[in-house]
């Protein structure tokens, strides 16, 4: 006997993500799922963004890593509210991990919540966490071929942050190529060029974050 099923394999994740989304909405929070390969600068971006915006808006962070609390410790030093999730091997955060973390993470008073995903440009694109938008960070040292190599996340994201622009003279990377090829995948992508080390590009980026909190 044949049975027609047509069942989304990720529906279990999607239904919990929907509950998270509801909770974020009740708390009037704007939530950004931050995705990149390891070492692109997600935590550095958050550190500098939080320090720059400390007096203007309240930012919370959920840190996802396979192991260690190193990133949460870095964020804690900025004074922001933070909680660490360890996936113990899993290559991405899923909505249930976030749901569980939220039990010990008060949302009151926050304007923006960043969920820093596990460093990986592939798997996190598939797992909604209940966020408003996904943001992808790509550093110039990774090379300008990445958007076409990982089209899924560049299509899903609303924001692309090109990081480490201070290192551009030491690489063969073309920012124009990154922009051209990522816009071919996603013409609506908002692109920012920053250096988390020098602070270049942070005025524009931080103004944008403030606008999202309103």
């Amino acid at each position: 006997m044949k049975i027609k099923v047509v069942s989304n394999i990720l529906k279990a994740n999607d239904s919990i993500a929907e509950k998270n989304r509801q909770l974020f909405k009740e708390n009037k929070l704007f939530v950004i799922n931050l995705i990149s390969s390891p070492g692109a600068g997600k935590t550095s971006l958050l550190e500098r963004t939080i320090k720059t915006l400390n007096s203007k808006i309240s930012i919370g962070v959920i840190e996802g890593d396979i192991a260690t609390t190193r990133d949460a410790e870095r964020i804690e030093k900025t004074g922001a509210r933070v909680i660490q999730i360890n996936t113990n091997g899993a290559c991405h955060l899923d909505s249930n991990m976030v749901r569980t973390a939220l039990q010990n993470f008060p949302l009151n008073g926050l304007d923006i919540l960043f969920i820093e995903n596990v460093g990986n440009l592939v798997c996190p694109a598939n797992f909604n966490l209940g966020e408003d938008i996904k943001a992808v960070v790509l550093s110039v040292t990774e090379g300008d071929d990445k958007p076409k190599k990982y089209p899924g996340i560049f299509r899903e994201a609303k924001i692309l942050i090109i990081n480490k622009t201070d290192l551009l003279p030491y690489t063969d990377c073309s920012i124009d190529k990154i922009k051209k090829e990522s816009l071919e995948i996603n013409p609506d992508l908002n692109i920012f060029e920053v250096s988390c080390r020098s602070g270049e590009g942070f005025d524009e980026w931080c103004n944008y974050i403030v606008s999202l909190s309103n």
């Binding site: 044949k2 394999i9 990720l10 798997c123 598939n126 076409k148 299509r155 013409p187």
Partner: protein, 113 residues
Amino acid sequence: MHELSIVQNILEIAESEARKNNAAKIIKVWLKIGEMSGVVADSITFCFEALKSNTIARDAELLIDHVPLTGRCKNCGNNFQISNYIFKCNTCNNTDIEIISGRELFVDELEVE
């Protein structure tokens, strides 16, 4: 590499549908996997073989239907296959394209007894 957890979900869906239909055994499982679904079909098959042994799908065959990435132009209505991930209409050059296939990741059909 999250294919293992995806296969766990596939087996849960298949077993629950089979039970709903009072089936004792799953013979075939058809999946639809889109070109832009972000999963690797070979890894899905590998994980399925590894995980099925303790389920009523222990003898089941996994069949995968690959779905190409296609889009519809929101300007002229043209339906076309998207190649090289360039989301641009091949008729009017508009870039506002709705994906109509290629994101699929679902259990389509089962054969049970």
